[in-house]
Amino acid sequence: MADGRLPILRPEGNVPESPRPHSGLGEEAAVPVLLTRREDAINWFEEKVSGALGWARANSLFQYPFVTACCGMEYMSVMCGRYDLARFGAEFPRFTPRQADLLMIVGTINVKQSPVLLRVYEQMTEPKWVMAFGVCASSGGFYDNYATVQGADRIIPVDVYVPGCPPRPEQVLDGLKILQEKIQTQRHTLHSVERSPELREEKKRSFLGKLLAR
């Protein structure tokens, strides 16, 4: 786990995906899900809590617009009067990763920008989701050369890909709807804390201990 980084999880966002037999996104539907596995079966109460949390988180997404290139122009029109994103609860762009839970990668990610993107993603507080806004963020677009990262999913897990160069605002709203549906059906648990090893010892020492240890 190099220089203080937790391993990046599979591209499912970091909220574990809940097994859904009936309708899945993409190839999940094809895989038969055995409902009888003990650790997957969640009891009635947890399901209600997960549904409530899912509803709350889906309908109040605060976005961090990681704007770099031409998709920024379409992002402006998505945010403004005519194709308003506010109608779906994702109104308020938060320009600090601490208060955002949706990272919208708007525009091309070039190789010099990749450490910046990785750091912003890691500094976002959980629960967090990522939307690749436009073809360049999803797959590098037609900039297939030494300077461009071929899609943000090579660096960070991406939840929703919005195609289009730049995508029409309706496509972005559709992408947001898909993300909200995904969040709604994800399994949200209460109070899960994961601390990286070197921070774990830190916690044991008392306040005075830390003071003296400085």
């Binding site: 220089d3 203080g4 600090t96 910046v116 890691e122 507080t125 990286s196």
Partner: protein, 127 residues
């Protein structure tokens, strides 16, 4: 003090209690319930995506604190004027109107003295 005097304040007390409780609950629950993955990179300061440059605890020039102090002084002054303004009509009814008025003038005069001193001393210029 008989209980009749306190009666009107009971709802206010309950209201304050409830409000305080709700604020604490919300902020605590939000912090407690949310999923957390804490690791060193997340603990570092956010500086637009690049590693932090320079040390944040550098010494600032004193004029920032002066402005803050001046603000507090004249803000408190205006805080005292509000209750006085609200009750001025009652004082006048009891015949104390002129006295209350002169009282406030002297209060403001002393503070105006302070303002002139600060102005002459040049603490208001920003450059």
């Amino acid at each position: 003090m008989d209980s009749a005097y306190l009666d009107p304040y009971l709802p206010v007390l309950i209201l304050l209690l409830l409000a305080g409780l709700m604020c604490l609950a919300i902020s605590f629950l939000a912090g407690y319930l949310g999923p957390k993955r804490i690791f060193p990179i997340k603990e570092t300061a956010f500086e637009c995506g690049s590693p932090t440059t320079g040390d944040p605890h550098s010494r600032h020039s004193v004029k920032f604190y002066l402005v803050a102090l001046l603000f507090i002084v004249f803000d408190i002054e205006s805080v005292f004027i509000y209750p006085w303004g609200a009750l001025l009509r009652d004082f006048a009814a009891q015949g104390l109107g002129l006295f209350a008025y002169v009282e406030m003038l002297s209060f403001m005069a002393t503070l105006a003295l302070g303002l002139v001193y600060v102005w002459r001393k040049g603490a208001l210029e920003w450059s």
